[in-house]
Symmetry: C2
Subunit: 256 residues, 2 copies
């Protein structure tokens, strides 16, 4: 069903720097012929997912229903309300729940108090797993062959001059995480971002998500973050595990 694939690719062509796109833009970005892109856009327009202003197309809020289908089927609102908001409130910082998708982590829930953080992340945001606290916690939960595959095939790019990109070093850090139960990063994803993550297990003991608390390094050091928040995070992680036994969507979705 090529049309479906192409239509989805059209939706994903819109980004912050490309809020409006004309037909040729869409065709170029999705690497499809103009006639096909046109058909996709016209169908999406008819269905209410995009609207047209002259020759520019722009996404409509109905697109959010697609993401919302995931959020609802994973019971994310309850997890956010019950656990993440409390964590954000207790720490005065951002709390997030992430899952692994391919080589990246995806934010599935987030609660935040005003922070000085420069990192823009919302539900659906994706970041490289190796450079994030949640990514390392998730990688630590992979089976050995899966982790090896990740280390063999991922592209490691330094995002800051502090980013660890050596596979051997990363393997060590991931192993440390497995042993200690947490992963902490500072200035690796972006300057000033400091974060502590713990794995979230499902009722069968598999790592299906990772929970983190992130802040600005001007506000708290990595060492202090670990000292003061590790227990808190573990406690919330266990609560989420209990919730996953009741509504197991995340557990089912995560394994691929």
């Amino acid at each position: 069903m090529g049309g479906l694939a192409k239509g989805l690719a059209v939706i994903r062509a819109f980004t912050r720097d490309r809020a409006t796109l004309n037909l040729s833009d869409v065709a170029a970005l999705t690497e499809m012929p103009a006639a096909t892109a046109r058909r996709c856009l016209l169908t999406l327009e008819e269905l209410g997912y995009v609207t047209r202003r002259g020759r520019q197309f722009v996404l409509r809020p109905k697109v959010l229903e697609l993401g919302a289908a995931y959020l609802e089927s994973m019971n994310i609102e309850t997890l956010t309300k019950t656990h993440l908001e409390e964590l954000a409130g207790s720490t005065g910082d951002s709390a997030a729940l992430c899952v692994l998708d391919g080589f990246e982590i995806v934010y599935v829930a987030r609660a935040s108090i005003r922070t000085l953080m420069r990192l823009e992340a919302h539900v659906g945001s994706r970041f490289p797993a190796y450079a994030t606290s949640t990514g390392r916690a998730l990688l630590a939960g992979l089976a050995p062959e899966r982790l090896q595959h990740y280390l063999d095939t991922a592209t490691f790019e330094a995002l800051t001059d502090r980013t660890i990109i050596d596979p051997l070093r990363l393997r060590q850090l991931i192993e440390d995480c497995r042993r200690t139960g947490y992963a902490a990063v500072e200035d690796e994803l972006a300057y000033g971002v400091v974060a502590l993550a713990v794995p979230v297990f499902d009722q069968y003991g598999r790592v299906v998500a990772a929970l983190n608390s992130s802040s600005h390094s001007r506000r708290i050091s990595k060492a202090k973050l670990v000292r003061e928040r590790f227990n808190m995070l573990q406690k919330v992680s266990r609560q989420i595990t209990a919730d996953l036994a009741v509504v197991p969507g995340l557990s089912l979705s995560a394994i691929a």
Copy 2:
């Protein structure tokens, strides 16, 4: 492009109560033949949007990329961080930014502190416009013919015994909102939910979104909500308007 339409409908078939669906469920819910539903699911699986556990299909986090395309193209993260989190922090309650899509409001941004609220709402959630504070603020911004069309064609269902469903009363309330600059509701969408909303204008003076502060009626009365927060909301609304001049995605998307 029927395949695209059908594929999108398949994604939207997953809900909180239907986190996993088998082929027949999907076919029934989307009212399409099993063979077509199967092809949709197989394509979505191949593209990474769903995964399969035996006969059950479940959404994967990649689906969030679709919603994220909208959030990014509308610059929602900046609006959330800059304005909504401050509002939530100042009030100790939920703050949300909504847009009108057909007969419903859609949550496009939300910031929340722990509240006693029973209303589960996240980005992408939709509620009937007539029963919500943001919906009334948005309806107040419609051209007269558009508003008349809404009142003539919408289905008004009482969600609580306090929900106003008489079109004449609603028209009056919407007119009041146009005059006073705000809309307040209590117990109309759900018991215990009290909310105050103001319109958000774009740089041309059109209403393109609505901003609200919502709480629990045990915590604050409607009258007090208006007295204490109206000015605050107007101020934030003006700030959002200034932001929309710079990144006009919401302005472009809202008009249909």
